[in-house]
């Protein structure tokens, strides 16, 4: 046995030195792990211009290691481009195709990323089947300051089929910007929520309850007493409380206070940190629900047929989760997560508790898989995906999107947004008015922009004072792609793209508005 163990140790140390790829990506792997990295590496991204903002976005996607990017841009480099874009060879690039100048400079950031310059015209491509097929073949499309008509065509095309790539629409001028992600549906298993999953202390599984029952405070020596894990202390106290209060747990504030005082009163000596911890954690006893309201809403929504969804696995798992919660043989709540927080206790108790949770989680995971097989016998889902779903079932997210521009056509939503988020909504609408003016070739003035916004919301809606600040800035610099604004957007858009591609963390749903005069960001127009 000893020999075996030391062999395992030696083997373990043989291959411990991480390879150069792991070392290069170490600081990001700590955020999205190998699974997120693999998703990034298999992505193919189309960017529809070689503007400063576009190359800034790409820089932040090439560095972490996307698979491929194409810059689709027919324009030659202007003297202005050469001045504001770091990914051009300054004045030496003037007159040469912007895409071809930028691609090599982006590729040298990361040898494992493939990049291509395409100097065809997007508008022409959108007119042919072949062109449309090409555009829809990517994983994600990013469009910065696209002319209104082309944007309309592109967003309409990409909305046609839920299997087509999401579109990120980015608009900027001077110190202001907004961006939007057009997607039908975005399913997230690993949202990396910071709220702790339930320890099921109000509804302990049998082994845990048995341990709590067999713990007799009076029979413990001082060392043992000071090392009872807070989980057991709270379960015992809850049982006692229920017995004295007709089966109910503390509800009103006074009851909660009394419960905490009871917990604290069990402390034999002032230095028993486990009881202090139990008091601090007592809040779990009245905040934990069998199913949180977010997840309950997901379970209550009309089910989506996995056979007709591009997110078949997620919908099948979601329906299985509902079956699991309603399963008469099950715990009547979400599956248990085996991850325990640290507790003031001794090693032996902690490891025992950890094993108990692990064992129960294993049993429930197996039951979940049985239900999945019963409900969807023919649907192949990788076991790792099922395991991740069960483990993260407290934090899964399902975002539903709308086509780009739908908010601008929704008079009721606009009027309400102008009341609640005046500066964000005003800035967003000013951008819509700006692209209309630029498309018409009309001079961009504050008055023309205000008139455009009034047209969008209708004559009866009063415009907020905040609109003056927004239209004034846009009229000041209607076509300025400022280096700092470009860099700021480059970070934000890339960050959201990474969340979309890895299906980890939660991307913004709605129009993210940026004002770098007063240095704020906000989101409006999220689908209800």
């Amino acid at each position: 046995m000893l020999q075996n163990e030391s062999q395992t140790l030696d083997e373990a140390t043989m291959s411990i030195q991480p390879d150069s790829k792991t070392r290069r990506y170490d600081r990001q792997l700590r955020l999205w792990a190998a699974s997120g990295q693999a998703a990034l590496e298999s992505s193919r991204i189309l960017v529809t211009a070689g503007s400063a903002t576009s190359t800034s976005v790409l820089k932040n996607l090439v560095l972490p290691g996307i698979g491929h990017f194409t810059i689709l841009d027919a324009a030659p480099t202007t003297p202005a481009d050469a001045g504001n874009n770091f990914f051009l060879n300054a004045n030496a690039s003037i007159g040469k195709p912007r895409a071809e100048e930028a691609v090599p400079l982006l590729r040298e950031l990361n040898e494992s990323v493939d990049g291509v310059a395409d100097t065809r015209d997007l508008e022409a491509l959108l007119q042919t089947d072949e062109g449309r097929k090409y555009v829809t073949s990517f994983t994600l499309v990013i469009a910065h300051n696209l002319p209104a008509k082309t944007l309309e065509q592109l967003s309409t095309l990409l909305w046609q089929d839920p299997t087509y790539p999401p579109l990120m629409v980015v608009r900027s001028a001077g110190f202001l910007a907004d961006f939007y992600i057009q997607f039908h549906e975005h399913c997230i298993i690993e949202s990396h929520s910071e709220t702790a999953p339930s320890l099921r202390l109000t509804k302990p599984f049998p082994a845990l309850q048995a341990w709590a029952d067999s713990t007799d405070y009076d029979k413990l020596d001082p060392t043992e007493h000071a090392h009872i894990p807070f989980a057991l202390i709270l379960i015992k106290e809850a049982d006692k409380w229920r017995a004295e209060h007709g089966g109910a747990l503390p509800k009103a504030y006074a009851e909660q206070k009394a419960f905490k005082a009871d917990v604290r009163a069990r402390q034999r000596k002032l230095d028993e940190e486990n009881f202090e911890e139990a008091e601090a954690q007592a809040v779990r006893m009245w905040t934990e629900k069998a199913v949180s309201s977010d997840i309950q809403a997901l379970l209550d929504a009309p089910p989506v047929d996995p056979r007709s969804s591009p997110n078949a696995a997620f919908h099948a798992l979601l329906q299985t989760l509902r079956a699991f919660v309603h399963d008469p043989a099950g715990p009547g709540c979400l599956p248990l997560t085996a991850t325990l927080p640290d507790m003031k206790t001794d090693t032996e108790s902690y490891v025992r508790l950890q094993r108990m949770y692990k064992e129960q989680a294993r049993v429930e995971n197996a039951r979940f898989k049985e239900l999945l097989k019963e409900k969807f016998p023919d649907l192949p889902i990788e076991e790792a995906v099922v395991d991740a779903f069960v483990k993260n079932s407290h934090h899964i997210k399902l975002l539903r999107g709308r086509p780009f521009g739908a908010f601008d056509r929704d008079a009721e939503a606009l009027a309400s947004a102008l009341q609640i988020f005046p500066k964000e909504t005003a800035t967003h609408l000013a951008f819509t008015a700006l692209s209309a003016l630029l498309a018409r070739g009309t001079e961009v003035t504050a008055e023309a922009l205000t008139a455009g916004v009034q047209d969008l919301v209708g004559p009866d809606v009063e415009l907020p004072d905040e609109l003056d600040a927004a239209v004034g800035e846009l009229a000041r610099a209607p076509t300025a792609d400022l280096p700092n604004t470009a860099a700021f957007l480059g970070g934000m858009v890339a960050q959201e793209a990474i969340k979309l591609l890895t299906k980890q963390y939660v991307p913004v749903n709605g129009y993210c508005v940026v004002d770098l005069v007063d240095s704020w960001t906000g989101t409006v127009g999220a689908p209800q």
Binding site: D26, L31, G65, P79, N84, G174, H192, V351, A477
Partner: protein
């Protein structure tokens, strides 16, 4: 080094017609929120491009971005200080560096890279510590931007710039713009030394570093981190004696990993990995290109607005959380009257009559708003305890066991100093 310091002379004055088409849109016209003092047109352009001198501290994740943004924005006289060399784990975000640059000084490679790409900008790198430079050096700049990962360095530059302010000389007030990131989160802020809240004022906003009690590590390990701490804090000195642990040496990390893994096996604890070992002993903070880009852009945007008055600058704190949607919060952080750097008032501290000097020192180290490592203590009349030099330490050591009340009367003041910080803290002691 000499080559890096030299400007790319051939390219100087390489402004081509239309180069600043984008930026000039905001420099030729004021916006609705622009201050009336804004000198639109040639005057502001001349100041930005020919006169303004800016210092960038740090040429890492934020620094690379800051240098590129400043150069493209039209700042032409930029200095950069960084004491680090390039590591392979920097390449996922520090975009001015390539694999071939690993091992070279960051400041030099970054300066070279920017000057090649942006003609006419002069970047003067210094490969060394900010503490090597004196007030005369810092006095030459109009603005300072920090992209640092060290709290200590930030406290040092903050205190230095606050100390430099001479009310008779407005030029002595150097706006400090500070950025910081951690994973998908970050912040950017503008500090007007002595006028607005300084870095020290907000020290208590920092996350408390995770510290594991020594008795947990020694007796009741539960988490893989406890085993790793045991290996590095207790086993390393026991086995290797005075040999210093080098967390950049893969052999040392390998030893720690093996040792931690063996302890974890003994206690049936799961989860010790090489990556976690490295993370714990090096205190690794996740870092990505996109967050750095956002925060660096925010810092440079504030620098641009301060230098040009083309728009109001941030008052004074921008905080970003990018994990769940895009959430940001812009607010005015208030000055702290008892801030040891810019406040001038003593901190009132109430302790028990029996508290020993030793215990008081422990309290000062732990307090979130003080965070002072190895403090030395004195009262106006006596030396209470000095960490150095050794003779003085030895002479004052017996005081450690004494109650503070024996040495300082009710309402008396204690001056606290530490070699790592260029300021002192005044405590007014009260007894319960």
């Amino acid at each position: 080094m000499a080559a890096a310091v030299a400007t790319n002379g051939a390219a100087v004055a390489a402004d081509w017609p239309g180069r600043y088409h984008h930026i000039d849109q905001v420099l030729d016209t004021p916006g609705p929120r622009t201050d009336p003092s804004f000198q639109a047109g040639d005057e502001v352009k001349e100041f930005l491009r020919d006169k303004c001198k800016i210092l960038v501290i740090g040429a890492g994740g934020l620094g690379c971005e800051i240098l590129a943004n400043l150069a493209l924005s039209g700042f032409k006289d930029i200095h950069v200080i960084d004491m680090d060399t390039i590591d392979i784990s920097n390449l996922n975000r520090q975009f001015l560096f390539r694999s071939k640059d690993v091992g070279k000084p960051k400041a030099l490679v970054a300066a070279e890279s920017i000057m090649t790409r942006v003609p006419g900008v002069k970047i003067t790198p210094y490969y060394g510590k900010i503490q090597d430079k004196d007030e005369d050096y810092y006095m030459q700049f109009n603005l300072v931007i920090c992209g640092l990962d060290s709290v200590e360095a930030r406290r040092w530059i903050n205190a230095t710039l606050v100390n430099m302010v001479d009310p008779e000389n407005p030029e002595s007030l150097k706006p400090l713009i500070d950025g910081g990131t951690e994973g998908f989160k970050g912040q950017a802020r503008v500090i007007l030394p002595t006028i607005s809240s300084c870095y020290e004022c907000s020290l208590d906003m920092l996350n408390k570093p995770t510290a594991f009690p020594i008795c947990t590590i020694a007796n009741t390990p539960r988490l893989p981190e406890h085993c790793i701490e045991w290996a590095s804090v207790l086993e390393w000195p026991r086995v290797h004696g005075d040999k210093k642990m080098d967390t950049d040496d893969p052999e040392h990390i390998g030893w720690l990993y093996k040792t931690a893994l063996a302890r974890a096996k003994e206690f049936n604890i799961e989860g010790v990995t090489y990556s976690l070992t490295q993370g714990v002993v090096k205190n690794i903070i996740p870092a990505i290109a996109s967050t750095n880009a956002i925060i660096a852009a925010s810092c440079c945007n504030e620098a641009f607005k301060i230098a040009t008055s083309s728009a109001a600058y941030l008052n004074n704190y921008f905080m970003l959380i990018g994990t769940d949607g895009v959430y940001s919060f812009t607010f005015e952080h208030e000055k702290r009257p008892e801030c040891p750097v810019c406040g001038g008032e003593a901190v009132d501290l109430t302790i028990s009559k029996g508290m020993t000097v030793d215990k008081l020192i422990e309290t000062l180290v732990e307090r979130q708003d003080i965070q002072i490592k190895k403090p030395s203590l004195s009262s106006p009349t006596k030396q209470i305890y000095f960490q150095a030099p050794p003779q003085l330490e030895e002479a004052t050591r017996p005081n450690l066991e004494k109650p503070v009340s024996e040495l300082v009367e009710e309402g008396g003041e204690i001056t606290v100093t530490a070699t790592s910080l260029p300021f002192s803290l005044s405590l007014r002691i009260h007894y319960t």
